[in-house]
Symmetry: C2
C-alpha cells in the first residue's frame, strides 16, 4: 500500500530553471524531490499543480507524491523547511485520498501577474514584478481582460507544444486591480496553456497603454493565431497563486496556517 | 555658488555593508556617491536622512548633496536609475533650499519592522522580514509599544556610541498592526539611536510572546540600562520608511510618483 500526500508550497523562482526537473539546470521539482527522497529514505517523485517557467514564482503551488513509508504531515512540513533552500518553503502538508493528483485533480488555478506601474523602477520588487513606466488604465485593462472570460479556444494566446494540442479552456475570471503603484492581474481558469498568462498580460497591457480598443482582444481570440496577439510578458512578474480542488478534493490544506 | 539637491530612494540592503561609506565593504552611500560623481563629473558627497545597518532596507530614505554643476532633477533620477545596481532605486529628485540637509533638516522619521508570523517560513520574504513562529497578540504588542511614546531617555533601548551621548528622544507613535500573516511595527520619532528600533522590536515582541506584562516596558525604560531591555531583532526585517521635513522643508519630493 502506498500513502498519498499533498503539500502546499511557495517559492521565489529567480534562481531556478523552472518547476520541471531537467537534465541541465536546477529545477524546483528536482530540489524538492531530492530533499523528499532523503526524508522518506526512498526515491520520491512529485506531481505539481502546474509547471512554472524559469523565473516564475509561486505563492500557493500544490504538489503530491506517494510513499511506502508513512510520515506525520506536520513532521514532513518541518523537515522540508529545515532542508530546503530559503527560497522554497512548504506551507502545509496533508494526507491525500488515494487517487488524488495535484495536477489532474485540480478544478481550477489562479495565476497572478504583478506590475510596478510608475515612472521609476523598484529596488524592492526587482525580479518580483514587471516595471512598466507608462500609466496603465485599469478600467480599460479590465475591459480588455473581460473578453477572455468564458470557454474559448485560446490558440492565439499560447505556445502550442504540438499543432494538434487542444487549446480550449474556460477562464472563470480575468481581472486587474491597482493598489498605489502596483497593478495586479489575476486569471483563474480550469487549465492553462504554455505562456498563456504571460501572453494575455503582455497583449492586454500593451494594448491599453497604446490606447487601442479593448474589443481588439475579441478579434485576436477569434483569429486562433498566435501571431495576431501581442508580446509575451517576462516571467519575473508571474506567480502561481492558488489551486482549487473542489469539495471532494483535498480537505484541510492550509490548515496549519489557519491554526494561528 | 553650489546647487543643493535632494533625492528619495529605496533599496534592498541585503547585499550591502549598510548605508555608511567605509573602507572595507560595499555601502549604499559609497555606491550612490560613485555613480553621482560620474553623473556630475565632480566628486559628490551625499548626506542621508539616516544610517541603516548592514542588511537593513529602505522604502523612503532621503539623501542630499551639493554640486557645482546644475542638472535637471528628472534627468538625475533617470541617470541614477540607469547606472545604479537593481537593488537601489531613486524615486524622485528635487532642487533643495540652500541650507537643506537630508539628515539635520528632518523633523521626524518612520521606521517599519516587518514580521512574518506563522508556523512556517516564507520563501518570498526571506531576507525581507523576520519569521516568528509563535503567535503574536498585536493588541498586547500595542499596549507594550504604547509605553514608549512621548519624550523619554531611551538609554535602555539603544547602543551608545559614547557614554555621554544624549539618548533623549521623542517617539510620536509606536504601533503594531496585522494583515494576514504579516505583523508590522511602525515607529516615528524625532530621531533614532543606534539599534533603537531593533531593540524595541526584539524586546516588545519577545515580551508579548512569552506572556509578560506590557507594563514591564515602562520599568525597562525607567532603568536607563541596556541590560534591562531584551534582545536586538535582526536587521533583515527593518526598513527606513519615511522622512518628514515639515512645511518649510522640502516641497515636491515624491512629485514624480504622484504624476501617475
Amino acid at each position: 500500500m502506498l500513502y498519498n500526500t499533498a503539500c502546499l508550497c511557495e517559492y521565489l523562482g529567480t534562481a531556478y530553471s523552472g518547476w520541471q526537473r531537467q537534465p541541465n539546470g536546477v529545477s524546483i521539482q528536482g530540489v524538492i524531490e531530492n530533499v523528499l527522497s532523503g526524508v522518506f529514505a526512498e526515491p520520491v517523485k512529485i506531481a505539481g499543480s502546474g509547471r512554472t517557467d524559469s523565473g516564475v514564482h509561486a505563492m500557493g503551488l500544490v504538489f503530491s507524491f506517494k510513499s511506502r513509508v508513512y510520515r506525520d504531515p506536520f513532521t514532513v512540513t518541518k523537515a522540508l523547511n529545515c532542508l530546503l533552500p530559503k527560497d522554497i518553503a512548504v506551507l502545509d502538508t496533508v494526507p491525500a485520498p488515494e487517487n488524488f493528483h495535484a495536477g489532474k485533480s485540480a478544478v481550477s488555478k489562479t495565476y497572478l501577474y504583478k506590475i510596478i506601474n510608475r515612472p521609476v523602477p523598484s529596488a524592492l520588487y526587482n525580479d518580483r514584478a514587471l516595471w512598466i513606466r507608462s500609466p496603465i488604465d485599469t478600467e480599460r485593462l479590465n475591459d480588455a481582460l473581460g473578453f477572455l472570460t468564458g470557454r474559448h479556444d485560446f490558440a492565439s494566446f499560447c505556445v502550442k507544444k504540438t499543432k494538434k494540442e487542444n487549446s480550449v479552456r474556460t477562464v472563470n475570471f480575468a481581472r486587474a486591480s491597482r493598489t498605489g503603484d502596483t497593478v495586479e492581474i489575476e486569471i483563474n481558469a480550469d487549465g492553462f496553456l504554455h505562456n498563456m498568462v504571460r501572453i494575455i498580460t503582455g497583449t492586454c497591457v500593451n494594448l491599453v497603454i497604446k490606447g487601442g480598443r479593448p474589443e481588439t482582444i475579441k478579434e485576436m481570440l477569434a483569429a486562433l493565431d498566435r501571431r495576431k496577439a501581442g508580446v509575451t510578458a517576462p516571467p519575473h512578474g508571474l506567480y502561481q497563486k492558488e489551486v482549487f480542488y473542489g469539495k471532494s478534493g483535498l480537505p484541510g490544506l492550509k490548515g496549519i496556517a489557519r491554526q494561528l
